[in-house]
Each structure stands twice: as structure tokens, then as C-alpha cells.
């Protein structure tokens, strides 16, 4: 008999054990929502005016992480490719997880929680640390003081860019295969490539941010069709 079957014998009546908990949660949520709504008013600014652009114009908070990424990536990456990959990657999780328990989940947990943390750090920066011209303002800084525009950025030459990208992707795909053979064996080739591909793309986001902040790199790779 499996562990879950053994547990399923350990049943309680839905009424009252679950129903009253749900009722309590629902009432508590209602009270909190009601009090917050009495105390804090929803924002309503001036009438919409297409000729008066606010500076900065910000997306709703849950998209501010993506808007923050516009500093580091072209719009098709920040606004389309990255959110698209996040959604696909999330949906693929059950098909990529080899189904291990306990401490062997450390990898899965760090990837998920790391991604979630990155998402909320970017939202925090976009919400509280960005002012006019999307310049960096600490939350306590006066946003009426306009900061000078950022220094010019540069693109790496293709002679550096291509090898850098190929080494990153190639090394990133090969190294875990050679170091953690067990990990590769558990996943199989297709899942391994998908997991590592998505993971390398995710890690590339903070890497690119670091390159931009430390060395002012706008593009790692320039091609005639698009720049990354």
C-alpha cells in the first residue's frame, strides 16, 4: 500500500472541519478587504490626456518588473520573449521535474524561489527606485530634481559577443552533464536540454543586468536582425 493510500484512510468530515475553516478564512478576508477599502482610497488622477505624458509613465505594478527589464533589453525581449518564456517555463514544470523528494528537490526549489525573488526584486526597483527618465532614485530622494541622463552605453564587438554567448550556452549545457552525471541520467536528454536551456536563459537575465551596470554593456551580441 502506498504512502498516499495509507494517508487517505486518515480522513475527517468536510462538515464541519473544512467548511468552518473556509468560512473563517472568507470572513477574515472580507473584514480585511472592507477595512482597507474604508481607509485607503483607490487612486484617481487627472482626466486622461494623450498630449501630456507623465514622466515616468509606469505600467501596473505586476508588470513593472518587465518594464524595468527595458533598461537592459530591447522591448521584444523584455516585453514579449521573457514573459512568454516565463509562462511556457511555468507550464512545463510538471513535465520537467523528475519527481524527487526531500533534499533532492533543492535544485527545483532554488530555481523556482530564485526566479520568484528576481521577479519581485525587479518589481520593487521599478516601483520604488525609478523616477523621471527612468533614472535611479532612492525612495527618499526628491524626484523633482532631474538627474543627468545615463552615460553612453556600448555594444560588444561580434568578435567578443559570439564566443561569449557560445561559451556561455555551450559550457552551461555541457558542464552539468559532465559534473553531475547523476542529474543528467535522471532527467534524460530531452528534459535535460529543456531544463538547462530555460535555466541558462533565466540566469542570463541577472548576468546581463550586471554587465550593464558594471561595464555599461548595452548589447552582448549584435546581429543584422536583432541585438541581445
Amino acid at each position: 500500500m502506498s504512502a498516499e493510500n495509507a494517508r487517505s484512510r486518515d480522513l475527517v468530515h468536510t462538515w464541519p472541519h473544512l467548511v468552518y475553516r473556509e468560512l473563517c478564512a472568507l470572513l477574515a478576508a472580507s473584514v480585511v478587504l472592507w477595512i482597507v477599502s474604508l481607509l485607503v482610497d483607490a487612486p484617481l488622477e487627472e482626466l486622461a490626456n494623450a498630449t501630456l505624458t507623465p514622466n515616468p509613465a509606469k505600467a501596473p505594478w505586476y508588470f513593472l518588473g518587465l518594464q524595468e527589464l527595458l533598461v537592459y533589453f530591447d522591448p521584444w525581449i523584455a516585453g514579449v520573449a521573457i514573459p512568454g518564456l516565463i509562462i511556457l517555463g511555468l507550464a512545463a514544470i510538471p513535465y520537467l521535474d523528475p519527481g524527487e523528494d526531500g533534499s533532492r528537490r533543492r535544485f527545483a526549489l532554488s530555481v523556482y524561489l530564485g526566479g520568484l525573488a528576481l521577479w519581485f526584486v525587479l518589481i520593487f526597483i521599478g516601483t520604488y527606485c525609478r523616477g523621471p527618465n527612468w533614472a535611479w532614485y532612492w525612495p527618499w530622494e526628491d524626484q523633482t530634481v532631474i538627474k543627468p541622463t545615463l552615460p553612453l552605453t556600448r555594444a560588444l564587438s561580434p568578435a567578443i559577443g559570439w564566443p561569449a554567448v557560445l561559451i556561455y550556452l555551450g559550457g552551461g549545457l555541457l558542464a552539468p552533464r559532465l559534473i553531475w552525471r547523476d542529474f543528467f541520467a535522471r532527467l534524460g536528454i530531452v528534459r535535460y536540454l529543456t531544463v538547462m536551456g530555460l535555466l541558462l536563459l533565466m540566469i542570463a537575465v541577472p548576468l546581463k543586468i550586471a554587465l550593464r551596470l558594471a561595464f555599461n554593456v548595452k548589447y552582448v551580441l549584435t546581429t543584422p536582425w536583432f541585438n541581445v
Binding site: E4, S8, T14, W15
Partner: protein, 270 residues
């Protein structure tokens, strides 16, 4: 004193039994008071709403520290948003010439209008948070594993839908905040590869500002009347309907895939 209490208790019991035995009560609820096992099961399985639940659940499945209650609260917030949203619809017209004035009226002239609007707004933000927390709980407990993989995928769909619902609602007040947030958001759509006028490879399909994906979203090249109407219809009709269908599938599959998952670490290898 004790006798008086006993008298009151028996008065309560007699009244209760009388009501429960009456024709009127029994026409609605056919079983007795749920203080013994048979009636506790009947109260769940003979009620269309309660029978989303099984009559009995795994002991750990009622624990707050296991479920965080976030899935249930997300569904509840969707319900709150539907009720407050319908009330707001009585007073709001998606016309650029009067939408903003309708918001002002809601704030200052409509009885409880401001409360309704505040509740709608904060419940919407809260729902984004509870849905993300629910997803995190399901991830941490490993509950997306077989046989529940596809229900996780449905859940990801519901997460996207929650964000889209919130985003489409953001435009409706027709103030500066609304217009420019939606301008920023939809400008990103313009950058879609192949399908957006500013995206890479758009020339291949003959995409311009006037036939790209942003134009389809806004019904034009700028955020104006057509965009307001599109967002309104999506927000009040299309997206909630899709959400309701996906939620029905999501809840139904929780039951069909074996009820609430086991605590992490105790899952069988299938």
C-alpha cells in the same frame, strides 16, 4: 441557574427540531441537523456548492499550514470582484467623454460608490498576490506531480488570466494613470517578433502600425475610444467567462486527480 440553562438548551433544541421537521425547511434541505456522521455527509453531497468538496477530506488537507488557503481565497476574491464589478457597471459607461466623470460620480455622488470601487481595486491587487502565493504553495508541496500535471497547466492559464483581467481593468477609470499604464503595456506588444510593427522580422509578414498586434489590442494606433471599449468588453465579459470555465475545470480536476495532494515528501512513485 443550571436548570435555567438546561431549560433554554431544551427550548432551543425543540425549536430547532420543529423548524427542521417543517415542510418548508425539508423542501429546501432534506437531511437533519449535521451533528452526526450521516447528516454531515449529506450536507456536503446534497448541496451543489458544498459538493465541490468530497464528503470527507484528508486530515492534512484542512490544515492552514499545508494549503495556506490561497486557492480558496483567490476564488473568493474572484467572487467579490464579480459582485462589486457588476455594481460598478450600473454607474459606469465606457465612453471617453463620460467615463472619468462616472468615476467622479462613483466617488462623490453614488451611495457607497467609493467603497465599491475601493473594494474592487484592492481585491484585484490582492487576487494577483493570492494567485502567486497559491502557485508557490503548490510548487513547494510538489503538488503539480503526476497525476496533477495538467491541472498545474490550467492554473498557469488562470494566473495569466488574472493578470489580463487586472490589466484590462486598469484602463477603465480613464485617468492619466490608466491611459499611460496601458500605453506603456501595449507598446510592448508592438515589439512582438513577426507580429508587432516595431518587432524584429515584422517586414516578412507585411506588418505595419495599422495591422499589427498592438492595433488589434487597441482598435487603433493610440489608446482612445476603441481601446476603452475593447478593454471594457474583455474585462467585463470575455475574460471573466473564460476564467469561470477554467476555474470549473481546475476545481473539477482537483477532485478527479485524487483530491488534495499529499504533504511533500510522502508522495508515492507512480
Amino acid at each position: 441557574m443550571g436548570q435555567q440553562l438546561r431549560g433554554r438548551a431544551s427550548l432551543w433544541r425543540r425549536t430547532r427540531d420543529r423548524v427542521l421537521a417543517s415542510q418548508l425547511w425539508r423542501s429546501v434541505i432534506r437531511h437533519g441537523y449535521p451533528d452526526e456522521n450521516r447528516n454531515r455527509i449529506l450536507v456536503i453531497i446534497s448541496n451543489i456548492f458544498l459538493h465541490l468538496h468530497p464528503a470527507r477530506v484528508k486530515r492534512h488537507g484542512v490544515k492552514l499550514r499545508y494549503t495556506w488557503c490561497m486557492g480558496g481565497l483567490s476564488a473568493f476574491l474572484f467572487f467579490v470582484l464579480t459582485v462589486t464589478g457588476v455594481l460598478l457597471m450600473f454607474y459606469y459607461v465606457p465612453d471617453t467623454r463620460r467615463a472619468y466623470q462616472d468615476m467622479k460620480d462613483l466617488e462623490h455622488a453614488v451611495l457607497f460608490g467609493k467603497l465599491m470601487r475601493n473594494m474592487h481595486r484592492w481585491a484585484a491587487h490582492a487576487m494577483v498576490v493570492t494567485v502567486i502565493l497559491h502557485m508557490t504553495r503548490v510548487f513547494l508541496t510538489g503538488s503539480y506531480r503526476p497525476p496533477r500535471e495538467f491541472n498545474w497547466v490550467i492554473g498557469v492559464g488562470l494566473l495569466v488570466l488574472t493578470l489580463l483581467l487586472s490589466f484590462t481593468g486598469y484602463l477603465l477609470p480613464w485617468d492619466q494613470l490608466a491611459m499611460w499604464a496601458i500605453t506603456v503595456g501595449t507598446n510592448m506588444a508592438e515589439a512582438t517578433p513577426f507580429l508587432g510593427a516595431a518587432g524584429p522580422f515584422h517586414e516578412l509578414l507585411g506588418i505595419t502600425k495599422h495591422n499589427d498586434i498592438r492595433f488589434a489590442l487597441l482598435g487603433g494606433t493610440i489608446v482612445d475610444q476603441n481601446a476603452l471599449l475593447r478593454f471594457y468588453v474583455l474585462h467585463c465579459i470575455a475574460l471573466p467567462l473564460i476564467g469561470a470555465v477554467l476555474m470549473a475545470v481546475h476545481f473539477w480536476r482537483v477532485r478527479k486527480d485524487g483530491g488534495i495532494s499529499g504533504p511533500h515528501g510522502k508522495l508515492p512513485k507512480l
